[in-house]
């Protein structure tokens, strides 16, 4: 009996330890170092750092318009992104979860954007919003295609949303399909025999049963939205006129372009606290809706 316990523990350690070590070295230790740097004025290169106490934090809250502009953008983006990407991917998943040949082709079709490199994606969209829209405008004459999508601050927001949704729909779709497949057939069949139509089946059986998938998707899409960086980095560069600066991009710029490393770490700490609060609330809400089969 005792032997088995030790064995179990060894097995547990064998599997868990490498992962813990990775997380420790790649995330937790840097995080603690981050806290240390945040109370210094440091350019990220020099040998000397100047202790400034909470000055960096005070500056963030009193005198940093661009950071708060980034926060506003990120929040707005998060709302749009989480809602749109989840609705679309759930819809697609419902259609694609039917066991037909066409649906496996369809799944691949939606999943491809998720696995191609972002550099390629930015080229694709540069083409769509450039020569692509121009050609469509020439054919249709719709003013909509002639707008300067990437060059207008208001429209650039939607460009970022569209790109992010397009790129990631496949990922959430797979999650939802997994959830839908796991719903026991006998439940839906029984409901159908009882005369429920397909919307009722979806609303009363599917939705409660796939709540675990929903909460995972909500959580990952929310954290993705908060961390949004790569699309901005390769596609808009925060422009035009700083209209697409996200918090993550602002922090990167602060550290590596403006060379205010201490300030950047302080900003990231402020943001971590904020993200923790939001995700905790979100988890609590979705978890409470989960049911067991």
């Amino acid at each position: 009996m005792k032997n088995k316990k030790i064995n179990d523990f060894l097995l547990f350690a064998l599997f868990v330890f490498p992962a813990v070590a990775f997380v420790l070295f790649a995330t937790d230790i840097p995080f603690v170092m981050n806290m240390y740097y945040s109370v210094f004025d440091w350019n990220g290169v020099g040998k000397s750092m100047k202790f400034v106490g909470l000055d960096n934090f005070i500056k963030i809250f009193t005198n940093d318009k661009l950071f708060w502009k980034g926060v506003t953008f990120t929040l707005k983006f998060a709302v749009f992104y989480v809602v749109i990407v989840n609705i679309i991917s759930l819809t697609v998943a419902v259609v694609m979860s039917k066991e037909k040949k066409s649906s496996s082709v369809g799944r691949a079709f939606y999943y491809v954007p998720y696995i191609i490199s972002l550099t390629a994606i930015s080229l694709i969209w540069k083409f769509i919003f450039g020569p692509g829209f121009e050609a469509l405008y020439n054919i249709t004459g719709w003013e909509f295609f002639n707008w300067s999508w990437v060059g207008t601050p208001k429209l650039a927001f939607y460009v970022v949303v569209i790109m992010a949704v397009w790129q990631n729909v496949g990922f959430y779709m797979v999650n939802y399909i997994a959830g839908i497949i796991a719903v026991p057939k006998e439940l839906t069949e029984a409901a159908k025999i009882d005369g429920a139509n397909s919307f009722q089946v979806f609303r009363k059986i599917m939705v409660p049963m796939i709540m675990p998938a929903v909460s995972i998707c909500m959580l990952t899409s929310l954290t993705f939205a908060f961390k949004l960086f790569d699309i901005i980095m390769v596609f808009t560069k925060g422009g035009p006129a700083n209209s697409t600066v996200t918090v993550a991009y602002n922090i990167y710029k602060e550290a590596f372009v403006n060379n205010k490393y201490g300030m950047a770490t302080a900003k990231s700490l402020v943001f971590v606290v904020f993200v923790l609060i939001v995700t905790a609330i979100q988890l609590k809400v979705t978890k409470s809706k989960e049911v067991e089969a």
């Binding site: 919003f129 925060g238 035009p240 700083n242 710029k253």
Partner: protein, 452 residues
């Protein structure tokens, strides 16, 4: 059963997401690859040489591998121009120094980020380059002091050396090549539109734009998507010729000169207005690549850029008939200049394990015949070292005539407060989209320059 299926699917998703993450980092690979290639190539040549060990190499190799031990010199090169010539140069150096391997990392993008992370992780390259001025000064505490090596420093032009001095006047870095910027124009377009005299004032520039428009040519393809181009453009309108770049920058930083009072400052907004009126329909979507492409193929007559883009322009259209137009900034022809500076500067890590070798290598790439071959023919630019060599770049040659006629000033944006273009460029974009007025932009510039 159901749970098992779920677990399998979920883990598949996770693996896929890890793969996707790998895909995302593709952009960094070219830099890494070129390192490998360089080292691989150099290893080969080093081996080949040590086999055949000639007397000649034994002589010149004394500084490095005294006892035949293997030495690797870590070099960081922040640009990717003239790569073939660079590789030839490295090969020749390794031939003369058996046992020495030069490991070069060429970083075309984000060089600052890469270098900064290398320095932070303790992996400081033995020889590296950064942009001169504000960025270089951050690294000067790691830099070897060249001031007393007069045998080396005397090889360079005096004004080029100036770009490598720290605040105490010590020479902490050595200059690479001169880079010039101003308006680049397509001579054929100007001819088609019947423009015979180059515009030197704002009025003449507007006149030229009208003529170009009448001839059906887009006058301006200003790369307004790039905040750094707009930042550079703005410095033309700050320049006080009597003070030159450093004097002007200092006067602006100290608040001695106010932006609103600069004689030519308001013409910057006139320039942007021209760029919008006589430019493409979606000005804020023009990135540097598009603008250079349009210029080289005669779709646009003017852009703001410098001779560093020669090789890109050549790749779009090698026969393009291009030249420099000193940027008109006011109502007098005397004010319009090209801005010219040695804006990349090379440092030797003073704590390098192979300090002597690092110094020798840097002297070699910046002054030797091979080095001049790399700079003049590979890159096509005028080197900071004194030389009689012809340079291959058409624009650089064009700039030479203006340098000879004293129609140049130094660069302001490199000695401006840190991140000048990143902060002020977007203000100018906001002016172009109509989100900020000229007064607000001026105010923004003023606050940024005097804040630090």
């Amino acid at each position: 059963m159901v749970k098992k299926k779920l677990a399998v699917l979920l883990s598949a998703v996770m693996v896929a997401s890890m793969l996707a993450a790998c895909g995302g980092s593709d952009t960094q690979e070219p830099a890494a690859e070129s390192t490998n290639e360089d080292t691989a190539a150099s290893e080969e040549s080093a081996e080949a040489e040590s086999d055949g060990a000639s007397e000649e190499s034994a002589e010149s190799g004394e500084a490095s591998a005294a006892s035949g031990e293997e030495v690797t010199l870590k070099v960081f090169d922040a640009h990717a121009y003239g790569l073939d010539e660079y590789a030839e140069m490295v090969e020749a150096f390794e031939k003369d120094h058996p046992g020495v391997t030069i490991e070069v990392q060429h970083a075309a993008n984000d060089s600052n980020t890469l270098l900064q992370s290398r320095v932070n992780s303790g992996d400081i390259p033995d020889v590296f380059d950064v942009e001169s001025g504000t960025s270089a000064k951050m690294y000067y505490e790691y830099a070897y002091d060249w001031t007393d090596d007069t045998d080396v420093t005397s090889l360079f032009n005096e004004d080029a050396l100036e770009t490598g001095r720290d605040d105490d006047g010590r020479i902490k870095s050595l200059p690479w090549t001169y880079e010039n910027m101003g308006i680049l124009y397509n001579k054929d377009c100007f001819e088609q539109a019947g423009i015979t005299e180059l515009p030197t004032t704002m009025d003449e520039l507007e006149e030229a734009c009208k003529k170009l428009e009448a001839a059906g040519i887009t006058a301006f393809a200003m790369p307004a998507k790039e905040s750094w181009v707009l930042g550079q453009l703005a410095t033309h309108f700050m320049m006080d010729k009597s003070l030159d770049a450093e004097g002007t920058a200092n006067a602006l930083k100290s608040g001695e000169k106010q932006f609103a009072d600069l004689p030519n400052w308001n013409n910057l907004f006139r320039m942007l207005d021209l760029a919008i009126e006589y430019g493409p329909d979606k000005p804020l979507e023009i990135d540097w690549e598009t603008s250079e492409n349009m210029l080289a193929n005669g779709e646009a007559a003017m852009i703001h850029m410098g001779d560093w883009c020669q090789s890109t322009l050549d790749s779009f259209n090698a026969d393009a008939n291009l030249g420099f137009l000193p940027c008109p900034v006011g109502s007098s022809a005397d004010d319009c200049t090209l801005l010219s500076s040695c804006n990349w500067t090379y440092l030797v890590n003073k704590d390098s394990e192979n300090l002597e070798l690092a110094k020798e290598y840097l002297t070699y790439i910046l002054t030797s015949e091979m080095g001049q071959y790399w700079m003049c023919e590979g890159v096509g630019a005028v080197p900071g070292v004194k030389t009689d060599r012809e340079v291959s770049g058409k624009l650089a040659n064009d700039a030479k005539t203006y340098i000879a006629a004293a129609k140049t000033n130094g660069w302001i944006h490199t000695i401006a407060p840190t991140s000048y273009s990143d902060v002020c460029g977007p203000y100018l974009q906001a002016y172009m989209t109509g989100d900020m007025s000229a007064e607000e932009v001026t105010q923004g510039f003023q606050e940024f320059w005097t804040a630090q």
